[in-house]
């Protein structure tokens, strides 16, 4: 009887394992792909090194003297002239950092803005902690009502002995965030009402809601901002001295409400008629039916789109620059006009772009995550 001995396993060919296989499959699988890969690499070679040189390797990071545990580091902070023009001058951003974040907000009162930032961070923690707990809805609702009010009075002042800060002093990232949050918070309820109005059986109400929504969505935000800054004051008696920020906020809120309305309407349309009929059958009136049965379901499925729409709003806040508000983008020209830092627009643009990008990218990631979590269709 023959005795079979197990042979030693032969190794797979080098081209079929590990990194080589990965490269073959993903980058060099066909002649076309080889060409594309090489072209892409060449493109990266053209773009990336100069970009890195400008932002990092050739850039000036001389932020001035500082000491750690008594050891002195650095030298005198770089100025506009010894930065040169061929690469980034980050000391400029370092010096103007406060301008980009707070605008002309009085420097000794900046702690109030900072505490709002801190409270916002805490808000995220609270939301995480109480989620899925009993009574979480009440806690969250209270926080979401109390938080904006407290934040507003902290920034604006004028109560509890806090010194008043006029809105024309608000600026930079603070202003951007104020506009975005007020826009979202105020336009959301209006949007829900408009969506319910458009879906209503009452002809007059649905007619006016539809007209409003479609009109607003058809025109660019900039025309509405111009309307708000030139025409709105004329609609009021004695409204001659209308706060500039308030005008922008009204415009943005009215604008965003129409978009939120369409998102919520999408959610409402996804609710099966059976839900409405069941609510009718157990004798709920219109308000109860919507508040207890329809809206909770409709809003839940529209959450990802609501976040998406809020992202657009966040992008649109930059437009207030055109009607003369000093948001973060406006700070680019403002700071580059400083006699000591003439012509540093590029650094400003890069900084503002990066800040906005980080906000918007994390928001869009978040909305993608929500989409997955709330997705009800069973795709594999």
């Amino acid at each position: 009887m023959a005795v079979y001995e197990q042979q030693e396993l032969r190794k797979p060919p080098i081209s079929q394992v590990g990194i080589v296989r990965w490269l073959r499959v993903n980058l060099f699988s066909s002649r076309v792909n080889i060409g594309l890969t090489l072209a892409a690499l060449y493109m990266l070679y053209i773009i990336i090194p100069p970009l890195l040189n400008w932002t990092i390797f050739d850039a000036n990071f001389n932020f001035g003297e500082f000491s750690i545990f008594g050891f002195e580091f650095g030298e005198v902070m770089a100025t506009n002239t010894n930065c040169g023009r061929s690469a980034a001058c980050w000391p400029f951003i370092y010096e103007k950092f406060d301008m980009f974040i707070y605008g002309f907000y009085p420097r000794d009162l900046v702690w109030r803005v900072d505490s709002v930032f801190a409270m916002t961070a805490m808000l995220f923690v609270i939301v995480r902690l109480v989620r899925n707990r009993k009574g979480s809805a009440k806690i969250l609702l209270t926080t979401f009502v109390v938080f904006p009010i407290v934040s507003f009075y902290l920034i604006a002042g004028g109560v509890f002995g806090l010194e008043e800060v006029k809105t024309h002093q608000w600026g930079g990232l603070t202003l951007t965030l104020v506009i975005a949050s007020v826009g979202i918070l105020v336009s959301f309820p209006i949007g829900i009402l408009l969506a319910l109005g458009r879906q209503s059986n009452l002809r007059v109400i649905s007619f006016f809601s539809t007209i409003y929504i479609e009109f607003i969505r058809a025109v660019p935000l900039i025309t509405i901002l111009f309307m708000a800054s030139f025409v709105l004051p004329l609609f009021f008696t004695g409204g001659v001295d209308f706060d500039k920020l308030l005008r922008a906020l009204i415009a943005i809120t009215l604008f965003q409400a129409a978009y939120f309305a369409e998102v919520v309407r999408g959610g409402l349309q996804a609710i099966p008629t059976g839900q409405y009929e069941a609510a009718d059958a157990i004798g709920l009136n219109y308000v109860q039916k919507n508040a207890l049965i329809v809206l909770p379901q409709a809003l839940k499925i529209s959450i990802p789109n609501l976040v998406g729409s809020s992202i657009s709003l966040f992008k649109d806040t930059t437009l207030v620059l055109i009607i003369g508000l000093m948001d973060m983008l406006a700070m680019v020209n403002m700071t580059a006009n400083d006699i000591n830092w003439l012509g540093r627009e590029t650094e400003g643009f890069v900084f503002v772009t990066m800040t906005m990008w980080i906000f918007l990218y994390s928001m869009s990631r978040y909305s993608k995550k929500l989409e997955v979590r709330f997705s009800t269709d069973h795709k594999n």
Partner: protein, 390 residues
């Protein structure tokens, strides 16, 4: 059951309530309108602002550096409106063309089986979609002003297109008499192509013999006008830009503002179009491709007859919506001063005349009409593309 016969029972009637609510809403809206407009009239009179559209025929008095139609400061404000409107349409059309091309390429690249290409496309989308369009316009504009060379050191493409700090110079077509016949030939060629395609389609369904029509189509659409063109003795020539002294003369100029706006709008909108294309292709069931292969269709036939029609049904509606967004975003030219509608008419004329209600009303009306037109287009497309049931 006890009948409620009290006098107020009608209050519980649903129909009565509905009417009451609607009447109340109407009254509130009427009141808001009435008080707003009466305040408006009062304020306008108090500030001695003119009303009405008489300002349209007044002399504009300012120059516009970029216009498709003849314009001088002597022209009327209405002329400024037309100049702005045409510039809006020009930048929108250019933006739409390039956004579609870039979006299509990026969308396909996103699905490439080449890892590097797919990641680059993803990077492009994530980078440019998450930067507000206004920042992008300003950055492209600043970059154009900073990095483009002076007229003497222009980037030169085939001695006919020049790019420098002052803008982009392209040859301008000069139309001579008789050119209209070439245009007629184009229309005729397109009409004949349709007829020919129908004929061969009928032949295909009757006899099963498939005829490649691409050659005939090219011949009819391009060949026919070309023949007419040369028969009439080339009634069209190009006026080439040329460097004379410190600047270029001749040709058509597009300013750096136009360049920045067009580039920013195309690059930004392309990210959305790319996502639309990608989701369209991904939405086609894998079984469809397999079924096509099982029927014996070739790769190209499967793509052309099975995959793309279904993918485009998903991808086209959001793409058309993006065209509308692009057109609306072109109004941001106000920030860099490209004289389109919002900037030239809603900005400069508004500053000079001060009749905000009329001027902004007209501006909004234009965007409203564009939006209605695009909605109409969308409805037609949707109807055409909807799945035909039995």
């Amino acid at each position: 059951m006890k009948q409620d016969n009290s006098i107020l029972s009608f209050l519980n009637n649903n129909e009565t309530r509905a009417i009451a609510f609607q009447v109340i809403t109407l009254l509130i809206i009427a009141f808001v309108f009435y008080s707003g407009i009466s305040n408006l009239i009062f304020n306008i009179e108090a500030r001695e602002i003119h009303t009405g559209f008489a300002f349209l025929s007044n002399r504009a008095g300012f120059d516009i550096n970029e216009s498709m139609i003849a314009y001088t400061p002597e022209h009327s404000n209405l002329r400024v409106f037309y100049v702005g409107l045409i510039n809006t349409l020009v930048v929108a059309v250019v933006g739409i063309i390039f956004a579609t091309i870039i979006g299509f390429i990026i969308g396909i690249a996103r699905l490439s089986n080449n890892w590097l290409i797919s990641k680059l496309a993803a990077g492009y989308i994530e980078l440019f979609r998450n930067i507000p369009i206004l920042i992008q316009i300003l950055i492209w504009y600043n970059m154009a002003l900073l990095t483009l060379p002076s007229p003497r050191g222009s980037f030169n493409f085939f001695d006919s297109i020049f790019i420098n700090k002052r803008g982009i110079y392209v040859p301008e077509p000069v139309i001579e008499t008789g050119f209209v016949w070439v245009l007629i030939a184009v229309v005729l060629g397109i009409a004949l192509t349709f007829l020919m395609k129908r004929h061969f389609k009928q032949k295909h369904s009757k006899t099963g013999v498939y005829t490649h029509t691409i050659g005939y189509s090219i011949g009819l659409i391009f060949g026919l006008p070309l023949v007419v063109f040369f028969l009439l003795g080339s009634p069209l020539h190009f006026d080439y830009p040329a460097l004379t002294g410190f600047n270029f003369k001749g040709g058509r100029t597009f300013s750096p503002e136009f360049l920045a706006l067009a580039v920013a709008l195309s690059v930004y909108t392309a990210t959305y179009i790319a996502e639309a294309i990608r989701s369209g292709i991904e939405a086609v069931d894998k079984g469809q491709k397999e079924a096509a292969a099982a029927l014996g269709l070739t790769q190209t036939q499967s793509l052309k007859l099975v995959v793309l029609p279904q993918a485009l049904r998903v991808a086209i509606p959001p793409t058309i919506n993006q065209y509308l967004n692009l057109t609306k975003n072109s109004s941001l030219a106000t920030a860099i001063g490209y004289p389109e509608l919002m900037s030239a008419f809603g900005g400069t004329v508004l500053n000079q005349v001060g009749q905000a209600v009329e001027i902004l009303g007209m501006t909004m009306a234009v965007y409203l009409v564009i939006s209605l037109f695009i909605s109409l287009l969308l409805n037609i497309v949707n109807k055409k593309m909807s799945i035909k049931g039995q």
